[in-house]
Amino acid sequence: MSKFNKLCSCEFKKIIKKKSTKVMFIILILSLFASAGIANLTKKMYSVAEEMTSPSNYKEDIQSMIDSLKFELNEGKDSLDEATKNEKQAQIDTKQFAIDNDVNIYNEFWKSEVIESDLYSSKLNIYNYKSLKAAEEEQKEQEKYDKIAELVKNDDFSGYIKYQKEELKKSLDANTIEQNEYDDELYILGLMEKYEIGKVYNPDEKWKSTTVKEIKTLKQNLRLGIDQISQKSLTEKTLEETKNNIIINEYRLEHNMEPYVSGMGDSVGSTRKVYDYMVGSISMMVLTVMMIIIAGGSISSEISKGTIKFWSFTPNKRWKILLSKLTVTTIFLIITTVILSLVGTLVGNIFFGASNAQDYIYASGGNVHTTNYIVFSILYNLTIAIDIFVFVVFAMMLSTVARNTAVSVGVSIAAYLGGSTIMQIVNMFVTADWIKFIPFNNLGLNERIFTSDMSYTSASMVKTMTGNIPVSFSLILLGVCVLIMLVTMFDSFRKRDIV
């Protein structure tokens, strides 16, 4: 074993034998349980929100709406024009139809949608034709209405899809849509039919309809050559991204793999998925604080306690001592991250079941690949560890330069907790290009590297919020920052006297 390795192994022993490290480790494991609790809570909040938007006593609700519509109609018998009257009457009729057929129009499934859109417009047409005294058209529309109403009454989902396909064909024949749009729409309908999206009401499968809608949007993007979220035309890169996201979404539907966030954050994934992300934020935050405490005290506490004296007159140059400290802290960070990922998986398996652990999906070269759950959680947490490493170097530099544990730990934790918040506020007001050179804006690599766990829409929103900085740029900038801090640190430690 070389001298440097020996130095490192001694440093490692020192860290492990410290009581504070042991305490922090216990807190770290406890934070996993906290993550599990918060994941449960988040999920519950979403279901409460769901309950509020689609109440079970919908019939009274609809009835009161009908009553108020009727009242308005009565009041405005003379003042309202024919078209408005027709609209209101059509609404009353369709809502009444919903009550008669026990359809909760607040829920998201096909019957609600049919009643709210197809039946309503059909009914409106009927009334309008009636006003225009166009008996022939009225008759035709009435037939259409009866046909759709029949589908609802018979609970005929596939019939509804078939009806839509027919309508689509008619539009194509009438030249109101292009051939490629027709193909896309037909494809979407095919998906809906295949996975029976919206056939029965189920809040846990809300993501499926959101995902299909997203596929539709993405296909539209491809067709138009514009990204509808950022309002920019597709470049070669975003074109590839769009294609990849379509196949990822298809893969999700096919394998019933719910994303962490679907659509624009309409629903969150399974409790397990929420837990995984909570581990990534809460437990990794605890780990950051732990590492800052270790790194922030590494030099200054040895100087204040005098133990540095024993090390500095061993046959090792000073920079070697410092380098061994840095190396060990980094290795400790990596090992702890891996352990945390593994224990996190275990805790997740205990609380939410091993079968719910979902592999990570990504697409490259037109094919969908998956990464094993455990491998992914380690990789994901290691990307977070890059951020932590930056703060570790920062804390260590302060520890070497200021030689005061309280200052280095305090300032580093303040920078870690406050930095991103302050940057968010600054980013709201400043839109200049140079803002991407601020290191804080380049942290949070995990959110930008592993994007396909979120829906394309959410991922793009996150990207826009963080300033659309490319990952490679961030890595280079952080690397330069770390280098500057390292040079400062080594220079200060090498030259200054130990008094």
Partner: protein, 307 residues
């Protein structure tokens, strides 16, 4: 002639504009125990820190066993061990663990750890955490640690702090044994002059960063011409003073019934004979142990720096 293992040559050190060590030179030979004396703020600890590479050397050079501290730091540090200011260790670990850590870095076998702990008499409480130790025990642990790799040069800064009389005697015995058997050169700084007198072969005195003088101690054959202080306690002081004035041409000081006189070693018997001859009743004759102290006060002007 024994080899010089630690050589300090024209060393100066500045703290800001203040020159705390000024052109200091001395050397320590193999097997020698050198006392390093000086009042507070004389630059002792600064010099020791420079020897151990804790402080940079502004001017001059320090060589340990032939290796320059500045140029050949790693080689030089292989031959040195020591305690500076306090014997600081990791309080949350036991003495054994502390020593084992150090043994690893110094590339020493673990068996040596137990040997050295036994040597300093710490074997019983070696598994206790260091934070629970008393200062004396910490000093012993620190000594064990600095002896772990059997250095050629051992530097001890105030090693008797917090040690009980038994501990001080143990330390003295250990140092003497190491110096004579293994030829370790020891540099001890301390304020307890009586201790230094018993322990050291030679002392170096510095003041305000400057070398003042060096003096050998204890070796009687070499010091045949050196004067030693004597305290002669008598019954009838007037008569004794009279004898001194008439027959012995020496400068004396009196206090109560005691006469203080500085003499060469071979002169005392003549003086006693003369006193007895004139019926002076002598109660005690004591060789004054205050020679080092006197010298110390002389050279440091009573230890008052500001005068």
């Amino acid at each position: 002639m024994s080899k010089t293992v630690l050589e300090i040559k024209n060393v100066s050190k500045y703290f800001g504009k203040a020159k705390v060590v000024d052109n200091l030179s001395f050397e320590v030979k193999e097997g020698e125990i050198l006392g390093f004396l000086g009042p507070n703020g004389a630059g002792k600890t600064t010099t020791i820190k420079m020897i151990l590479g804790l402080l940079s050397i502004d001017e001059g050079s320090i060589t340990i066993n032939g290796y320059d501290v500045k140029k050949d730091f790693e080689k030089a540090m292989e031959f040195i061990g020591g305690i500076v200011e306090n014997p600081d260790m990791y309080g949350y670990m036991s003495a054994v663990d502390n020593l084992k850590l150090y043994a690893k870095i110094r590339n020493v076998d673990y068996s040596e750890v137990y040997k050295k702990l036994e040597l300093v008499g710490l074997k019983k409480s070696m598994n206790q955490k260091v934070s629970k130790y008393s200062l004396g025990m910490k000093q012993r642990a620190g000594l064990a640690l600095s002896l772990l790799h059997t250095p050629k040069v051992l530097i001890l800064d105030e090693p008797t702090n917090g040690l009980d009389p038994v501990g001080i005697k143990d330390l003295r015995d250990i140092l003497k044994k190491l110096a004579s058997e293994k030829g370790i050169a020891v540099l001890v700084s301390s304020h307890i002059l009586s201790e230094m007198e018993l322990m050291c072969d030679r002392v170096v005195v510095i003041n305000e960063g400057k070398f003042i003088k060096t003096q050998s101690l204890g070796d009687e054959n070499q010091n045949i011409d050196a004067t030693i202080g004597y305290e002669i306690k008598v019954k009838n002081i007037e008569k004794a003073v009279q004898v001194f004035n008439q027959k012995i041409n020496k400068e004396i000081k009196t206090e109560n019934n005691t006469i203080y006189v500085s003499l060469k070693k071979n002169e005392i018997s003549d003086i006693i004979r003369a006193l007895v001859f004139d019926d002076v009743q002598i109660e005690t004759v004591v060789e004054s142990a205050k020679t080092l102290e006197n010298m110390f006060f002389d050279v440091t002007k009573g230890g008052k720096k500001d005068e």
